[in-house]
């Protein structure tokens, strides 16, 4: 009872001379030998194409992330070539897996050790909302303790879904204003989580 194959039927052969993707230039004013644009756009472009993620992989979603990092789905295409396991050196905290209530303070400690600008991605149902584990020991979503930017639903989400979440993070990073982290709104948000 197999269905006919619908995707990748006529694959495009790899072209070694034409396989480098270039990022689009931001809007700006060009002239002879100069290009003027907003600083925020340039900084955002640089940041979004070189995010260093911190994989906080706890359970099954961590395995899907390993598949995403491997060659078939390749996260390195998006600039996340270097994964760090030290929060001091990373931009994006990817929480993948079930977080128990006992793990909560540890996750918060890892988040606090990251330096601004930092983003958080909750991968999978357990990190987003506790998933199928509606129990006394599982934290019902990491947004109870840290602010989250992107949620990737799924149990586990397919690697394509994790990549889609990563691309949404890239959109957020590219469009963030340089002064967002100093604004009143942001301080209020951090205050609601008890973070200075």
């Amino acid at each position: 009872m197999s269905r006919p194959v619908r995707f990748n039927i006529s694959p495009i052969p790899a072209d070694p001379k034409n396989n480098i993707a270039l990022a689009n230039t931001p809007e700006g004013f060009t002239g002879e030998g100069f290009f003027a644009t907003k600083l925020g756009d340039v900084v955002g472009l640089a940041r979004k194409n070189s995010i260093w993620p911190l994989p906080f992989a706890t359970s099954c979603c961590g395995i899907e992330f390993m598949a995403t990092m491997a060659s078939h789905y390749d996260l390195a295409r998006f600039g996340a070539e270097r994964l760090g396991f030290s929060p001091r050196q990373c931009d994006l905290l990817m929480v993948m897996g079930t977080i128990a209530k006992k793990m909560g303070p540890i996750l918060k400690q890892v988040y606090l050790q990251m330096s601004e600008p930092r983003w958080v991605m909750a991968v999978g149902a357990c990190a987003s909302s506790g998933g199928i584990f509606d129990s006394y020991s599982v934290l019902q979503g990491i947004d109870q303790i840290i602010p989250v930017d992107v949620y990737v639903p799924g149990c586990p989400p397919r690697p394509e879904a994790i990549l889609d979440g990563f691309m949404r993070i890239q959109d957020l990073v590219g469009q963030e204003t340089l002064r967002r982290r100093n604004s009143e709104n942001y301080k209020a948000l951090m205050g609601s989580y008890g973070i200075e």
């Binding site: 209530k101 006992k102 509606d134 129990s135 006394y136 020991s137 019902q140």
Partner: protein, 168 residues
């Protein structure tokens, strides 16, 4: 002569007379019960005897029977004779008001964390344990979650939307 369940049962009755009781063999695993004050004596006997040699503690857990007043908490030991490959299950029952049981840590080091887990989830107080505190749950938890009166869901959630959970 190979060690069999009948031999083990005969040795236990010979040593402890009528204090060991409730001999059963569900799925071929010899199971028996003893009063809770004798638990260390029975474990030591099963450990020391050269014919019995139950020197490996596979599991130590508890079961809560709310319908048996005076015998609500059962502490279950699973022992294994590695040489002859025979397993045995040993149960002791204790009342829930005073769930004090002697610790098996001196005999089996594995009992250390297993007893902590049993304390964490059922509230069995192991006397003589070197470090009896919660192991898997948060330290501030004030109840014993695996007892039958507590539901699995966390009762302090405020974000459970009735519509999303199919309750109108």
């Amino acid at each position: 002569m190979a060690l069999t369940n009948e031999t083990i049962k005969a040795r236990l009755i010979e040593k402890f007379a009528d204090q060991v009781s409730q001999f059963e063999e569900p799925y071929g695993l010899l199971t028996f019960e003893a009063p809770k004050d004798l638990n260390l004596k029975v474990l030591q006997f099963l450990y020391d005897e050269d014919e019995l040699k139950f020197r490996f503690l596979t599991d130590l857990t508890a079961v809560h029977y709310p319908g048996q007043p005076g015998r609500e908490l059962a502490v279950v030991y699973h022992l294994h004779n590695l040489v002859d490959n025979i397993r045995i299950r040993f149960k002791i029952f204790t009342a829930i008001e005073k769930p004090d049981v002697f610790t098996a840590t001196k005999l089996f080091s594995a009992a250390n964390w297993m007893e902590r887990e049993t304390f964490d989830f059922f509230g069995v107080n192991f006397q003589g344990h070197p470090n009896l505190k919660r192991i898997l749950n948060v330290d501030e938890m004030d109840y014993f979650p695996m007892r039958k009166e507590y539901p699995m869901e966390d009762q302090t959630r405020r974000d459970k939307d009735d519509a999303m959970f199919g309750r109108g």
